[in-house]
Point group: C2
Chain length 404, copies 2
């Protein structure tokens, strides 16, 4: 244990998830156990809350509400996408000093870890003692070092169930709705789209085709794939990542609206599904429709993965424990054991290993044709969705002999 | 009891739902109890299965699978959208005769009831004794006479939870994702969109604005509404029906693709959300994004309403019971009692009262401004979603006093 005493700030950053509040609950529960931590403050809307001194006193919350955070989706403290300017860093340090903030816990993705790292480095240069710990969070699952990211297992479970249901829908009404395209989130990494494979139990089940941004998208190849499945099954269910790119590395569809850029200059994506429907209609003359669940997929409480909820809570606790023990400038990671049965531990990695870096879906998780995932990927993702899917009826459908 | 003995066909028609299989389970369970019914046949892909003599023997299915249908989404026997030609009717009657079909149970919406009615009337003209009963089904909730339609309560529950979660998402990250538009299903009736109101617990909760096709959509009024909410809350969550129409009664956005027309000549809709995002970006200069859950909303098993599942099962049973008792050419309806506590019974109405008719959301369910629903509508829809929503944490957020 180190002897640094003072207040702490907990902040949530980036896109909300089904489990980030579970991490916050874990952090608060752990903070309460350590006498070094006096005030437990929550930053309203992430780093903006620090900059604007919008801080709430989490010790004043009812214990039952803090417990309930473990099953409450979205970011209860509010979040933001805000790229820090140089002068913001000085302002943050000033706020930290004035509020005697000695511990800073930031739950977020690669942008947020960059922010946390910069704040910490400035504090060190200025001789202000501060412990900064990152709590991993992103549905995109694109943080390096950690085996996976809290938030991902839940979006994967949501999609597994939803794609299975939507697939059964197409299977039932394929005579008029022949092709279904389900557009998932994912900017540059296809982890979310890949996870839709968990909907599939049998060879003919949805999804029939999966396209990730890790492979350049080729219209002609896509049409061939769709046509082949259509001729075999009479219907096709396709999952695609909103961030698909062509051979030139350009997004197939990015918003042309000037307002659609976030604080980090990222363009709002989306529209790939409609683009592909047009392509199919024009070339194969069959009807396709798009489901684009959007933010519903990332934040749905309906089927948060139990494994994900548990791990999210754990990384929140561990972040506090490690900071109190004297460590700083690290993000908690999830480390999968080598055992056959799924077991997961926590580790630590320097924030600079995470800051602004992206982990894409590796080659061995994508099939040779670039239109599906491999068994290795299924082994990877299976334990993360937190248990089996609900069991549905499977009818034998014995044909009544034709009458003459 | 009537003495008509023979085989029966059960068919599912139109868009799949979360509970139509529950109706089929109810019908099968009831058929088994009546000695007049010999073969229990399922038509594969609705009336197409009759036309093509694709019939399966449901007596050969395992009891456990039939039971499991009660919680299996989509249409297990397959469905279709097929507008009958005159000669099809004769062909169907011929199939009925050859397979000694004396009972025909058709689960579907207004198109399907028209089909069932026409088949029955032809049989009567030709002196072939046949009992035809309709089983109501449609997420659209647009069948006349019946208080509500099996399938609707489940899509309403799914949307209540999903819009609430997506609303919390916007509330958390409104500094970059300021406006969210959730595009729901609904061709000419706004029942589904209206049900999203169940997401709302507090005044500021999502949805803030609700637009139904029952009121002509006006761009200028819409922009004023959005601007007002934005100025008040800093963010806006809007639910809109895919079938919104302008003052001229034209769909705001209908597909221009030639292939996007179903068997009844209905154009594929969708795209209203994107249209409105463009409108907001161009006029208010704020960023909006669209969630369009599409078929996922109608068929999701994640939160099928218990009330809906129970009633769907009931109408399946009652249809068989009534046919066996000698009635024909009727659809089972749901009748809500006058009691304060929700109670629901079944009734019957002639198929011709349902065939090709649509029940729109009545005026007293829509507010004067045409941008929200009324308390009367909330009273109507509340019992249908089958219980309260999961309870989420509500933090007090006591501000830490500003340091000087």
């Amino acid at each position: 244990m180190n002897s640094l005493k003072g207040n702490c700030i907990i902040a949530q950053s980036g896109g909300p998830t089904a489990v980030i509040n579970s991490s916050i609950a874990g952090a608060i529960h752990e903070c309460i156990k350590h006498s070094q931590i006096k005030g437990i403050y929550g930053a309203i809307n992430g780093i903006l809350g620090v900059l604007n001194e919008n801080l709430v006193d989490l010790r004043k919350e009812d214990a039952v509400q803090i417990d309930r955070l473990r099953k409450t989706p979205s970011s209860a403290l509010g979040s933001c996408r805000h790229k820090l300017k140089e002068e913001d860093l000085y302002k943050i340090l000033d706020v930290f000093k004035r509020y005697n903030i000695r511990y800073f816990f930031c739950a977020g993705g690669n942008d947020s870890m960059d922010t946390a790292n910069k704040v910490s480095k400035l504090a060190q240069r200025k001789g202000y003692e501060l412990k900064v710990m990152g709590i991993p969070k992103t549905v995109d699952n694109d943080l390096p070092v950690t085996d996976h990211c809290p938030g991902y297992g839940s979006v994967a479970r949501w999609l597994a169930i939803s794609v299975r249901d939507a697939g059964l829908d197409t299977e039932a009404i394929y005579t008029s709705d022949t092709v279904k395209i389900i557009e998932t989130m994912g900017r540059n990494a296809g982890w979310i789209t890949a996870s839709t494979v968990m909907a599939k139990e049998r060879e003919s089940d949805a999804p029939n085709l999966i396209y990730l941004p890790e492979r350049p998208f080729d219209n002609a190849q896509f049409l061939q794939d769709v046509d082949r499945v259509y001729k075999k099954l009479g219907h096709v269910v396709i999952t695609v990542c909103e961030g698909l790119k062509n051979k030139e590395g350009e997004y197939i569809t990015a918003s042309k609206r000037g307002v659609d850029t976030d604080g980090f200059g990222h363009k709002q994506l989306g529209g790939v599904g409609d683009y592909l429907c047009d392509l199919i209609a024009a070339n194969l003359r069959i009807k396709a429709r798009v489901d684009k669940p959007g933010t519903i997929q990332r934040v749905s409480s309906l089927c948060a993965s139990k494994t994900d909820l548990k791990e999210a809570y754990l990384v929140g606790r561990v972040a506090v424990r490690k900071a109190v023990s004297g460590l700083t400038d690290m993000m908690v990671t999830l480390v999968r054991s080598d055992t056959k049965e799924y077991r997961c531990f926590t580790g630590l990695t320097p924030l600079e290993n995470i800051a602004n870096k992206e982990k894409k879906v590796p080659d061995n998780f994508i099939n040779g044709e670039g239109n599906f995932v491999t068994e290795e990927f299924i082994d990877y993702v299976k334990p993360l969705i937190g248990g089996t899917l609900p069991e549905y009826a499977r009818l034998k459908k014995c044909m009544v002999p034709k009458s003459s």
